[in-house]
């Protein structure tokens, strides 16, 4: 029987992998997004910033910023799932290359005005095949049960590297 890996090694591998994905995409930094990880579960966080405002009178988050937040949450979830599979197999590369899916379409449903405060999102991969994936993302602010926006999108999965099975 294999000895379980020390928790410190596991955490550093997983946090390192997530950090590499986030750092690779300049636009994630532009939005100021961060990700919270519990095991393989990710929560995307959009800390409030004045630059995200779309209606200064209310004020409310910009619908486009909300759409972008949900889209990034979906893409990072898919890239993370690909990386998880590659790095968590026994004897696997602990630092596999970043592979980003491409958005084919995204449909955003605005349920209530985005308030000038932090927003959170969680993506659920409903189907992930060799070529296509379908993802649903829920966005909320103060109350997990009161979504302010949700989105569904299709994504083109990255080509597998040569030599992969």
């Amino acid at each position: 029987m294999r000895r379980p890996e020390p928790v410190r090694i596991i955490k550093s591998r997983r946090d390192g992998a997530l950090d590499r994905i986030v750092a690779a995409v300049p636009y994630i930094g532009f939005l100021g997004m961060r990700f919270d990880r519990r095991g393989d579960e990710l929560t995307a966080i959009l800390p409030f910033d004045e630059r995200l405002i779309g209606n200064p009178m209310l004020p409310a988050l910009h619908g486009g910023a909300t759409a972008a937040f949900l889209e990034v949450a979906a893409i990072v979830e898919l890239a993370w799932a690909l990386m998880w599979d590659e790095m968590e197999r026994p004897g696997a590369d602990p630092s596999p290359p970043i592979r980003l899916p491409k958005t084919i379409d995204l449909s955003v449903d605005y349920l209530r005005s985005g308030l000038p405060r932090d927003a959170y999102a969680r993506a659920r991969v409903n189907r992930s095949g060799r070529r296509f994936a379908s993802v649903h993302v829920e966005g909320w602010q103060d109350n997990r049960q009161r979504l302010f926006a949700q989105a569904t999108g299709h994504f083109l999965m990255p080509e597998r590297a040569a030599g992969d099975d």
Binding site: A24, V25, P56, G64, A68, K102, T103, S107
Partner: protein
């Protein structure tokens, strides 16, 4: 609309222009309103390294294209002769046909093709320097906010 020939720019379009230029997120994205008419708008987003989604190619992130098209859709609604005091996106669907060419500005053109008392319907297209091959198309529904009693 008036008995005399129009004098100077349409005040509604001026209001719409001020409304759009005051949006903090639009300013953060570097958006420039390049054309505005009755129920239509064109907005340009210059290429910017901070907006890149794919570091290997320099292609702009889809999210930035969505934000551009959503802003342009809202601008077309505000520029419609039947617009209300304000607008907010209800639903927005975007199809990405191809990656925008790195280094080129992306132009969104939106048209508000139908307006009811409460809802405005919009279609939009995003183009780079090749006008024959759109980068993305979108459709959206926008809530039209009117003061009580109007």
């Amino acid at each position: 609309m008036t008995e005399d020939a129009p004098q100077g720019p349409d005040p509604r379009l001026q209001i719409a222009r001020q409304f759009i230029e005051a949006i903090p997120h639009a300013r953060a994205l570097g958006l420039r309103l390049t054309d505005l008419g009755a129920g239509r708008a064109e907005i340009a987003m210059p290429w910017d390294g901070r907006l890149v989604g794919d570091p290997d190619t320099g292609v702009i992130h889809g999210g930035a294209v969505s934000a551009l098209m959503d802003t342009c859709g809202g601008a077309a609604v505000m520029a419609h002769p039947g617009a209300g005091a304000s607008t907010a996106t209800l639903g927005f669907r975007i199809d990405y046909m191809r990656p925008a060419t790195p280094g080129q500005a992306i132009r969104a053109q939106a048209e508000c093709y139908h307006m009811t008392r409460f809802v405005a319907f919009v279609r939009a297209v995003a183009l780079d320097d090749d006008p024959d091959r759109p980068v993305a198309t979108a459709t959206g529904s926008f809530a039209v906010e009117r003061p009580e009693g109007t």
